[in-house]
Symmetry: C2
Subunit: 135 residues, 2 copies
């Protein structure tokens, strides 16, 4: 059991499952895997996604279409996550993290807020908002 | 009672209260009112805020400090909200909207995702992520 100044760190299976779901989302992105991306999201009207520099897209149809467009585009990116933090509030949870994107033509850091809802024990994305960090 | 194709629109006090809380956040921003901004947020370690182009700030200390810096800076902005949509999931809720910012030196549109948690009947912000819309 690791120790911190404020006492032992308790295992937190809810948080572990949340961070695993967040990681699966980025694995799907990195691998340009539409099936895995589809599994990462809730399929509903209430989902929302803001890609860097984009307007918000709402509903699974529009969101999945954007991933299809991105995955069939030229940019192939590796994603190194840093500064990841998750918060669980019942069956809703959110993750903030930095996406460090490394590609042939570009590198850059994107700040992300990912919102998840738990259904049948699985955390699914209901909102993703990502924006470039300047400077 | 208004009618839509899918039937009458039911009054939704939860959603109304959520959108009112979202509006109070933007009123505080427009009026550069730190007390009102403080009331709009949960005061906790788990709050997170990403201003356009910034890295994420975490914890009420860092978040409130950023509002203080913004409010004492030169930019005075009017905010016209468009394309506002709220979703309530128990005691957690989120709003997506466009912030149309109008100032002396700049105008622009920012896409925002605002996450709220309800405590004692009040919706308080726990996360705000805003990013410029290009083009």
């Amino acid at each position: 059991l690791a120790l911190r100044d404020d006492g032992p760190i308790e295992p937190d299976p809810d948080l572990d499952a949340l961070l695993a779901a967040n990681r699966r989302f980025y694995d799907a992105f990195e691998q340009r895997d539409l099936d895995a991306m589809s599994s990462a999201w809730e399929h509903s009207d209430r989902v929302a996604c803001t890609h860097p520099g984009w307007r918000v897209l709402r509903g699974w149809g529009a969101v999945s279409g954007s991933w299809f467009a991105i995955f069939t585009g030229p940019a192939q990116l590796q994603v190194i996550l840093t500064d990841v933090r998750g918060e669980v509030a019942g069956d809703v949870a959110w993750v903030t993290c930095d996406e460090n994107l490394i590609g042939n033509d570009m590198t850059g850091t994107v700040s992300a807020l990912n919102l998840f809802v738990r259904a049948n024990g699985d955390w699914r994305l209901v909102a993703h908002h990502a924006s470039p960090v300047s400077g």
